[in-house]
């Protein structure tokens, strides 16, 4: 690998479309979420820089480690989740920027890398010895099992539809050639609906904020976290808030590299915020039944229709 190549990779991961870009957009999205929620509740809401200020403030706080915990795992877990999201973001954007060039990973790689931030939360919470964190970790894992199966089916509905293209660049190129997936039949629309439901669940925001459940579990896996590791978790969540809509836009609608993408992005965010503010939190068994019941059936209908060519 030549030096220019290396510098390019460093730039990609560190600045755009990796860390700096995703973090800025993610934190702004998280502000958008808070502001819109506030307006829905007839409050004023925070100024635009509030999410940045929160992270900056956490960076200034001391880090508290619970006695007797596995310290390295406890402190390291947030950063592992963070790294995975940065890499996922880079892979996703590169597919839109250079659809012809193959960059690092395909759809399956992204689906697997998206396990990592959730896993980091679970392991970090479990390492903290706190009983609330342990309950939160177990809920996070169950929630993951709940939403994952429908989402996998919805993602592969697209692959059925496009004739077996799994590389993200290829999926973008396919859409450029023959129109967005969403315009290609009812099956893709069903898959998109399932994927939309996946977003709040993956982010663990209402009605799926089951792992953190403030009034039951303090804040679940994050109970013992403070200072820099907590900032890393918050940042990871904010970045996921940017990455997941971009993922959906890239594979369903258009490239992330077009003006339409911004509209799509805002629409997805608004959907998430509206759902969050209009639905009370589910119990974990209700969430399991919801995802393994109606959502699973819906996604299977979608993929069967896709295999029939609809």
């Amino acid at each position: 690998m030549s030096l220019t190549n290396l510098l390019t990779y460093v730039g990609l991961v560190a600045v755009f479309p990796g860390f700096v870009f995703t973090a800025v957009v993610g934190l702004l999205s998280s502000w958008f979420d808070r502001k819109l929620s506030a307006r829905l509740q007839w409050r004023v809401g925070p100024p635009w820089y509030q999410s940045f200020a929160d992270v900056a403030k956490l960076l200034g706080k001391e880090t508290v480690v619970p006695a007797g915990s596995a310290k390295l795992v406890f402190l390291g877990a947030p950063f592992v989740g963070f790294a995975a999201v940065v890499v996922v973001s880079t892979i996703l954007w590169m597919a839109s920027i250079r659809p012809d060039g193959a960059f690092v990973g395909d759809l399956i790689v992204v689906l697997y890398l998206l396990y990592v931030p959730s896993l980091a939360i679970i392991i970090g919470g479990s390492a903290s010895r706190n009983p609330f964190a342990a309950l939160g970790a177990s809920r996070e894992m169950k929630l993951m099992l709940a939403y994952e199966v429908g989402f996998l089916i919805s993602a592969f509905t697209l692959v059925v539809k496009n004739g077996g293209i799994v590389s993200l660049g290829g999926m973008v190129a396919y859409q450029q050639a023959s129109g967005p997936m969403l315009s290609q039949g009812i099956s893709c629309i069903i898959a998109f609906i399932v994927a939309l439901i996946y977003v709040p669940a993956k982010l663990a925001v209402g009605p799926f904020d089951i792992p953190e459940a403030e009034c039951e579990l303090i804040s679940g896996p994050f109970t013992e976290y403070s200072g820099v590791p907590l900032a890393a978790f918050k940042l990871t969540k904010a970045m996921l808030m940017c990455v997941l809509p971009v993922f959906l836009i890239t594979v369903f609608a258009t490239t992330a590299w077009s003006p339409w993408a911004i509209l799509w992005y805002v629409l997805i965010l608004v959907f998430v915020v509206l759902i969050k503010n209009t639905n009370p939190r589910l119990r974990i068994d209700q969430a399991l039944r919801f995802f393994w019941g109606p959502v699973l059936v819906l996604s299977i209908v979608g993929i069967v229709l896709a295999s029939l060519g609809l």
Partner: protein, 634 residues
């Protein structure tokens, strides 16, 4: 080309195993050293075989048919398997020195282990069906004997039942294998493996394929022939489980499947579909059972069964990439699963129990074991960039290639199986290493160097085979399936793309960014504080806890959130709960089918009245029937 090394790879451990019996009980240390040296030598011979050219070795002509009794052959498919079988043998032997200390029947333990290694190498190298079946059966015998060794120290009933169960299931499927070999012989007229080649056209060749496949899949432990593995894992010494069912049996079973699919049969679509169904069902059923287990070894055993599903699924695709993925997964699986069982053994040695409800918070006491376990568990769940991910990814590419519009359900099942695998390991991680430490576990310390060595080597292999997956793919898997793989730092691009080396570099760089964020923080002080439970002292469990300001600051506690409770809400879901109850009561055990044969048994026992005259009349009737049949035929 004849190679003088080949017979040694097989017969050195066999002979040494016999010799090791003769070492007296008092010279226990010597037996350990002797076994380690022999398995080390076998590993070195395995390396020689690996780098050497294709070769063969014949001795003792059979006479009644063309071929030799001792007919060994090394080719692209089995050379790396022999090396790895020997490597696992060496590592487990080293591990056993620490693990088996203080157990009874050690005099038999090491000889049986050596014989297992020799038998596995023999089955891998055999180029004659007779020799193959012999070695194949021999490893079943040693497995049985090794399983009963557990009876001396643990629950004797359990161990004997488990050993008997494996004998019944594997014995029955070995019978199927022998019948299949008979059919192959009847059709191709040869007992030499390298000369066997059949298209699956008629019912006879299909039956031969299915029968031999049954033998292969039972050895590997695919559903529904899997139920012997969890039982055995629970009752036998963990080192035995790590060596035989977790690695050698997987190598052998998948090796036979690979021979069938790659060299001997031109498999048709229906059989491929059968393989895919078995694979997908294996993944889902086993891993769903795994997440509700309370015993660490049992949980790992169900995981091991599930992983076989990926291999079978890969072979079922019938595509080069799928088969390569299946083979690579076999190798990766053997590496991480033996690592997992060995770390479980270390936990057993250190903490004295395998019950997930009694363990907890051992990460600080056993950091090396935890690290090895963590890496192997992540690899097993297919977390990139570790080795398990690469091979699963290849299997998925095979599925996409063969037609995702028809086979999407297998792909989704396999990928969801990964999430469930992760869930099972989260339970173990919480239940054993993280979470809260119960007071009984306060004295646990890390195991000795001999029990740290093998897991460390295997965990390192998990990382290397993931980050530099191109190396094993290019040198081991590629030649075996006739595929060209890219060299080390390049991306693997087949259908999709996965660039393990660049991805790892990017992940490390992103971690570095995280570290910079940490450096950017103004205060870098870390304060140790007691766990916060709303200001209460709940769960401390000692009387003086009320006098201390905070509870839980003694690093142990009485009331904890157990890992075993993690998935209770899943287990209680309507529908699932019934399936779980049935699965645990053994309703899905394949050997229950034998009940169907009970009426036949009554009929036969009625015939065996013990009266000589009845027997003689039956014989006369038989001779008469034979005479009629033969005269009609000729």
């Amino acid at each position: 080309m004849s190679s003088p090394v080949l017979p040694w790879v097989v017969f050195l451990p066999l002979i040494a195993g016999a010799v090791a019996f003769a070492i007296p009980v008092r010279a226990e240390k010597f037996r350990e050293v002797f076994s380690t040296v022999v398995s080390g030598a076998v590993f070195l011979l395995g390396m020689v075989v690996l780098v050497g050219p294709e070769a063969s070795y014949h001795a003792i002509p059979l006479g009644f048919v063309q071929g030799y009794l001792v007919d060994l052959r090394i080719d692209e498919l089995n050379r790396f398997m022999v090396m790895f079988a020997s490597l696992f043998g060496l590592l487990v032997t080293v591990f056993s020195i620490g693990y088996m200390q203080g157990r009874s029947r050690l005099r038999e333990y090491y000889p049986y282990m050596l014989i297992s290694i020799g038998a596995a190498n023999g089955a891998l190298l055999a180029n004659n069906w007779l020799a193959f079946v012999g070695f194949w059966g021999l490893i079943l015998v040693t497995l049985f004997l090794l399983a009963t060794i557990g009876a001396a120290d643990a629950d004797a009933n359990k161990a004997m039942r488990a050993a008997g169960k494996s004998m019944v299931i594997l014995g029955a499927s070995d019978l199927a294998l022998i019948l299949g070999v008979g059919l192959v012989f009847a059709q191709s007229g040869t007992l030499v493996l390298s000369e066997t080649s059949l298209p699956v056209t008629g019912p006879m060749s299909a039956a031969a394929f299915v029968l031999i496949m049954l033998g292969a899949l039972s050895k590997a432990g695919a559903v529904p022939m899997h139920s012997w593995i969890p039982d055995m894992a629970e009752a036998s010494p963990t080192s035995v489980v790590a060596l035989v069912p977790a690695s050698l049996d997987k190598l052998l079973g998948i090796y036979l499947l690979a021979r069938l699919v790659l060299d001997m049969f031109q498999v048709n679509l229906a059989l491929n579909l059968l393989l895919m169904v078995i694979g997908a069902v294996t993944i889902v059923v086993a891993v769903v059972m795994a997440i509700v287990q309370h015993d660490l070894r049992r949980l790992l055993a169900f995981q091991a069964v599930a992983q076989v599903g990926y291999m079978v699924l890969g072979f079922g695709t019938g595509t080069a990439i799928g088969i390569a993925g299946g083979l690579f997964h076999m190798l990766n699986h053997a590496i991480y699963k033996s690592c997992l069982f060995l770390t479980a053994g270390a936990v057993e040695k250190g903490a004295g129990t395998m019950n997930l409800a009694k363990l907890g918070g051992l990460a600080r006491a056993m950091p090396y074991t935890f690290a090895a376990f963590g890496i192997a568990a992540l690899a097993s769940s297919g977390v990139p960039p570790l080795n398990g991910f690469v091979s699963k990814w290849m299997v998925y590419q095979g599925l996409v290639e063969v037609g995702i519009d028809k086979y999407w359900i297998f792909l989704v099942a396999a990928m969801f199986g990964s999430a469930l695998t992760l869930a099972a390991f989260v339970k173990v991680a919480h239940g054993v290493f993280l979470g809260d430490r119960p007071r009984e576990m306060s004295g646990v310390v890390e195991v000795g160097p001999s029990m740290r060595f093998a897991p460390a080597v295997l965990a390192t292999l998990c990382v290397i085979f993931g980050v530099a997956a191109q190396v094993p793919l290019q040198h081991f898997i590629g030649p075996a399936v006739g595929m060209q793989f890219p060299a080390f730092p390049e991306a693997i691009s087949i259908g999709g793309i996965w660039s393990p080396t660049v991805a790892t570099a990017l992940l490390l760089f992103a971690l570095l960014i995280g570290y910079f964020i940490y450096l950017a923080s103004r205060t870098r002080s870390v304060r140790i504080a007691p766990v916060y439970i709303g200001g209460e002292t709940a769960g401390e469990g000692t009387s003086d806890s009320l006098n201390t300001k905070y509870g839980r600051n003694r690093e142990t506690s009485d009331t904890r959130v157990l890992g075993t409770e993690f998935y209770d809400s899943i287990r209680r879901l309507p529908g699932l709960s019934r399936l779980y109850d049935k699965g645990e009561s053994g309703a899905f055990d394949i050997q229950r089918l034998s009940k169907l044969a009970t009426p036949l048994g009554w009929a036969l026992s009625a015939l065996h009245g013990g009266r000589l005259s009845t027997y003689v009349s039956w014989m006369l009737w038989g001779v008469l029937v034979l005479f009629v049949v033969l005269s009609v035929v000729s």
